[in-house]
């Protein structure tokens, strides 16, 4: 199908975009368009105005500081996948990006677009959740920081006011004692994951787990962390028994059946993938943590 008519605006600065967004009312932001345009074509959405932010140069950047890799919201997924900075300082993101759509959609799809679309099976929000990333949003009244744990307000709904724009994502730099893994299962390459898992482990000098993060996607309306299982791993040795026990926590999660898969199937898959991801993360943590 073809989209319903809309008016098109192409601001060249972030301040111009925020003013437009505040003034226009029924408007949507167009970044890479790889999720929004299908929804327009299928007429799930029919905004009066589209504000194309793809030519706002200040929104596309990658900058490294001592704490974090700062990424502009308009940065294309393909540029991140090819980025030595991402590979070295945020290897979990590099590992996840190969699963984001296809090469032909990553060329235009953006990191910020994926975070705002917030599909429950999407890879980029899952990485941000596992890494405790922080997001900067800008509105007519200035900017604020939102921790990723507070970003999902519901099914495909970010914690973003109608007059606000996501401007940047701050991914904490990988630590020397850290290991990560991103694993997902889909029927075909590039399809939405049935279940996806992002895991991060830090292993202390005694070989014991100092901190753990386990994030699951595709299991219900929003991605989530397995907080209890993460706490249970602290102080443990990263051995298969401990890891299997942590993965068992997926069985307790509440996932209902949908048109494609039963909740029981997703829980089983989640348990298997969490175990594999933790084992891989543990192996990489002991190996220095700098692998993709």
């Amino acid at each position: 199908m073809k989209p319903a008519p809309f008016a098109y605006h192409r601001p060249t600065s972030l301040s111009e975009a925020t003013v437009l967004l505040a003034r226009l009312g029924e408007a949507k932001l167009l970044a890479g368009g790889q999720s929004l345009v299908p929804m327009l074509n299928m007429r799930f959405l029919g905004p009066d105005h589209l504000i194309d932010i793809s030519r706002i140069e200040e929104l596309a950047f990658q900058k490294l500081t001592d704490e974090a890799l700062h990424i502009g919201a308009m940065t294309r997924q393909a540029d991140l996948l090819a980025s030595p900075l991402v590979r070295r300082h945020c290897p979990l993101l590099a590992e996840a990006l190969v699963h984001v759509g296809h090469q032909q959609t990553r060329s235009r799809g953006t990191i910020g677009g994926s975070l705002c679309h917030l599909d429950p099976a999407a890879e980029i929000p899952l990485v941000a959740l596992a890494l405790d990333a922080v997001l900067t949003v800008v509105g007519a009244n200035g900017e604020r920081q939102v921790p990723m744990s507070e970003w999902p307000a519901g099914y495909m709904t970010p914690e973003l006011a109608p007059d606000e724009i996501l401007s940047a994502i701050h991914m904490p730099n990988v630590q020397p004692d850290e290991g990560h893994a991103f694993i997902e299962f889909a029927r075909r390459r590039g399809d939405f994951a049935i279940v996806a898992v992002a895991a991060v482990l830090r292993i202390g000098p005694g070989g014991r787990i100092r901190s753990a993060a386990i994030a699951l996607g595709g299991m219900g309306g929003t991605a989530f962390r397995l907080r209890d299982a993460e706490h249970g791993l602290i102080g443990a040795l990263p051995q298969s028994g401990e890891i299997r026990r942590a993965a068992r926590a997926v069985v307790q999660t509440d996932v209902s059946d949908d048109a494609y898969y039963t909740g029981a199937y997703r829980r089983h898959l989640g348990e298997v993938l969490v175990e594999r991801a933790l084992l891989r993360a543990a192996e990489r943590a002991s190996g220095g943590g700098r692998h993709v």
Binding site: P5, A7, L30, S54, Q103, T105, R108, R189
Partner: protein, 162 residues
């Protein structure tokens, strides 16, 4: 409210001036306004890959872009792959030799994606070729012959575009 916008772009090396309604998809602009019907439209939501074209050198779904967004861009469609004299590009020739098309519906998109791959890395291994082809749906299930054709061109040191 949805007044036409004036756009200027390059399509297959030719300068194009046009006025487009904002909702005009790039795929429809190419097919209907420029009569470049080599670009095919399959699913219209970015999954099938039939409408893939090059935008500023990168493969993109032309059903997920509005023509107005291509303002100032360089677009290459399947019509731009062969030489001026109609001579097939090495990749197109290899498709012919390896019987890499059956009904031909997905072919324009696949040619664009593989041309872009071979331009960026002249000798990709089979895993990379398969990854690129995975962004296209061929209902004749002719993937293996496409991969064979790309492999035949890879490593010859010739770009996919003549």
């Amino acid at each position: 409210m949805s007044e036409p916008h004036a756009i200027v772009l390059s399509v297959n090396g030719r300068a194009v001036d046009a006025k487009v309604e904002p909702r005009r998809l790039l795929a429809d602009f190419l097919r209907r306004d420029l009569n470049l019907t080599g670009t095919h439209i399959g699913c219209e939501h970015g999954v099938c890959g039939a409408c893939t074209v090059l935008v500023d050198g990168r493969p993109a779904r032309s059903c997920l872009m509005f023509a107005v967004q291509a303002d100032g861009c360089e677009v290459v469609t399947v019509e731009g792959l062969a030489g001026e004299d109609g001579r097939l590009s090495p990749l197109q020739q290899a498709f012919r030799e390896h019987h890499a098309l059956q009904c031909g519906f997905c072919t324009p998109g696949v040619l664009i994606s593989l041309t872009s791959l071979l331009g960026a890395s002249p000798d990709p291994d089979e895993a990379v070729i398969r990854d690129v082809v995975s962004g296209h749906i061929c209902r004749c299930t002719g993937y293996q012959a496409m991969i064979d054709a790309a492999r035949a061109v890879a490593g010859r040191g010739v770009p996919g575009r003549s």
